[in-house]
């Protein structure tokens, strides 16, 4: 038995001998969930980043050197992710892209930070990730509180005076509801007439709708998920109550229209990051064309596209700071990078490493049940 352990240890040490690649390539890590329940996101991320890297290499690379993407599977699980991060650190990467889930990213943050590797997350929206003061951490996705801010702005812009906020007591929905409430109160001029939760999973919401109706709101902001949103719309229609509804990004699902029915869903507004086919920058259009030509499909969600933006930001930082030194790159990303044209719009980071600017857009359900992007302002 113990002999076997020794043999195994020897095997391990053999594998450890770092593979000596030619120095000319700049290595960039990609940590993404290739197995587990988020595998589809991770596989999209890998495709997008590799496609962009090929493109950059075709144009001569950066600082006259080619880039190489080294990907690792984080399995959508903090334990596997910590291993993947440790492994990436031994491969001589200058920066890493990823990953998707917030808790998964969090498990890797201090590993990369200790090793002085720039990390740009693409799908981790939990507020706390950038509140710890990690110098080398950035993200291209918005934070959870961003949506609350955009919701408040949208409600204000539509000119609603009496607002009802309804959530479903899940961490996400409640957090969003509270964030929106605080922002509305700060702005003033809007009265919150209702703030409560429904129980998700029920079939009949007429009780809560009647309660809502008695408060006479101008608009109802529902922060929960699409099944309840669909039922609410349907039963509101049946009651003959004609109040506009606005939903959070968890209502962005085609099933919403199926549950509510075309008639009831019509005119429903919701907030969401733009779906990939609605990305309107020239970079995004060219990129989506190339993506479709190669893989014969479109990326499934905007989160995977944001990993492409992370790569562009890293390459720009290497180019702009003329080095692969993490301190210089971090300085460049924090203070010098301004309005870089990315796939999802202009990219800049603030001193915490959060992306500046609003990614959230307003969508409206049209007569045919399609989600239509509303023009920005």
């Amino acid at each position: 038995m113990v002999k076997k352990i020794l043999l195994f240890t020897l095997c391990l040490s053999l594998f450890y001998i770092p593979m000596g690649f030619a120095k000319s390539k700049i290595k960039i890590g990609l940590m993404c969930p290739q197995t587990g329940s988020w595998a589809s996101e991770g596989i999209d991320m890998k495709k997008i980043v590799n496609l962009l890297a090929e493109d950059i290499n075709k144009k001569g690379g950066v600082l006259g050197r080619k880039i190489e993407i080294i990907d690792e599977d984080d399995g959508g699980d903090p334990r596997t992710a910590a291993l993947a991060a440790n492994k990436l650190c031994t491969r001589g990467i200058v920066a890493v892209i990823g990953t998707y889930g917030s808790s998964v990213t969090e498990a890797t943050q201090n590993i990369f930070n200790e090793n002085k590797i720039i990390q740009i997350a693409n799908g981790s929206t939990a507020i706390r990730l950038t509140e710890k003061g990690y110098k080398y951490f950035f993200r291209t996705c918005p934070r959870d509180d961003e949506q609350g801010r955009v919701a408040a702005k949208t409600i204000k812009k539509f000119g609603f005076k009496r607002v009802a906020i309804l959530h479903d007591n899940t961490t996400y929905a409640k957090g969003l509801a509270e964030e929106a409430k605080q922002n509305l109160e700060k702005m003033g001029g809007v009265k919150i007439v209702f703030f409560d939760a429904l129980t998700p999973g029920e079939r009949d919401y007429t009780t809560i709708l009647t309660k809502l109706q008695s408060k006479k709101p101008d608009v109802v902001f529902f922060t929960g998920y699409y099944p309840e949103a669909g039922l609410l719309l349907k039963q509101k229609k049946e009651m003959g109550w004609n109040v506009p509804f606005i939903g959070g990004d968890a209502t962005n699902n085609p099933d919403l229209v199926k549950i509510a029915g075309l008639d009831a869903a019509k005119g429903f507004y919701f907030l969401s990051p733009p779906v990939p086919q609605d990305l309107d920058t020239p970079q995004a259009k060219a990129f989506l064309k190339a993506y479709q030509a190669k893989y014969h499909a479109l990326p499934g969600s905007v989160w995977a596209v944001l990993s492409g933006d992370a790569l562009l930001a890293i390459v720009k930082a290497i180019d702009g700071s003329k080095s692969t030194d993490p301190d210089k790159m971090a300085y460049y990303l924090h203070y010098k990078l301004k309005d870089m044209p990315g796939l999802t719009g202009k990219i800049s980071f603030n001193e915490k490493g959060d992306r500046v600017g609003d990614l959230y857009r307003v969508y409206k359900v049209d007569d045919k049940g399609n989600f239509v992007l509303q023009p920005k302002d």
């Binding site: 076997k4 352990i5 020794l6 197995t35 990907d71 903090p78 917030s102």
Partner: protein, 311 residues
């Protein structure tokens, strides 16, 4: 005698291995260690007592969350929480195992799968507002030991493997005690055991609670190692992995279980280069194992007693 020296020499080399391994491989060894202790605690229930228990991740989760909640809310040092996490897990195990302990074989298996799923869903639903929902709990502090903060993979290597060594010693003693023999008796023939006066329900329950106690303590180590815990780490799949480690390594055998965790946790890391295909290789290896050696790689040796000492 030579063999003994060889074993000691190998142990010594193993304990010095962080000096020549890089952080990644040390961390792999840490994971192997954590799984080995968990599998040892499950082995006590599954291998020694013969209870088909596939919900071990639930007890692991209770221990980890106890540590996380008490540490982040009341700032109690991690090391003090080790026994406490174990006790919470043990109490939880007692409460859920008491009504189901009379179930046999597959029926027990199904119920324990139910337990692990209920625990996971309860954690996702932010039960009592304590568990932080699907985001989990973050900011768990590191263990402080005489002024040293256990932080790097190398530190954790010694922390985990010394804990494993202690566990091995204790489980070995327990296995060779009167109590351990009674458990084996239940495993081999329940009816005969009951007929000769072994209180089956009591012994099974003690095995369950002790196994859970140990898993709860590992939960503490895991929480302080990751500094963040979330429900994804305590899925049904995790329980299946512990189950496989015990069955594959040789149920009832301590060395077998440790070897099993090297194979199940270490091998997928060796095959990392193959990305998605590694799971395929891994599955194939397991099928071959089960066909050619269903009793496990290292089944426990038969008990030997010196005839002269019996009287």
């Amino acid at each position: 005698m030579n063999r003994k020296y060889l074993i000691w020499a190998i142990c010594l080399i193993f304990f010095l291995s962080p000096l020549f391994l890089n952080a990644y491989w040390v961390d792999v060894l840490n994971n192997i260690g954590i799984y080995a202790i968990l599998a040892l605690s499950l082995n006590f229930i599954l291998g020694d007592t013969g209870l088909f228990h596939m919900g071990h991740a639930a007890f692991f989760a209770v221990g980890a969350y106890t540590t996380a909640i008490l540490n982040t809310m009341y700032h109690i040092p991690i090391l003090f929480l080790i026994p406490f996490s174990g006790i919470t897990a043990a109490i939880f195990a007692y409460l859920v195992a008491r009504p189901i302990i009379h179930l046999r074989g597959d029926y027990l298996l199904i119920v324990t799968i139910g337990i692990v799923e209920i625990v996971r869903i309860a954690l996702v639903n932010n039960i009592f507002g304590l568990t932080g929902g699907s985001n989990g709990i973050f900011g768990i502090s590191r263990p402080h030991l005489f002024g040293l903060i256990i932080r790097r993979p190398t530190h954790f290597f010694y922390y985990i493997w010394i804990f494993l060594a202690v566990s091995v010693f204790l489980f070995h003693r327990l296995r060779n005690s009167r109590f351990g023999r009674a458990l084996n008796y239940i495993k081999e023939d329940e009816v005969a055991a009951e007929g000769t006066g072994v209180d089956i329900a009591k012994y099974k329950l003690i095995a369950f609670v002790l196994g859970a106690f140990w898993a709860g303590m590992v939960g503490n180590i895991y929480a302080s190692k990751m500094t963040i815990i979330s429900p994804e780490s305590f899925t049904f799949w995790e329980s299946v992995i512990y189950f496989c480690i015990v069955i594959l390594g040789g149920s009832g055998s301590i060395t077998g279980v440790i070897l099993g965790s090297f194979l199940l946790i270490g091998l997928p890391e060796l095959f990392r280069e193959f990305a998605q295909a590694r799971m395929l290789v891994f599955g194939l290896a397991m099928i071959i194992m089960m066909i050619f050696r269903p009793q496990g790689i290292l089944p426990p040796p038969p008990r030997k007693y010196n005839v002269d000492q019996i009287n």
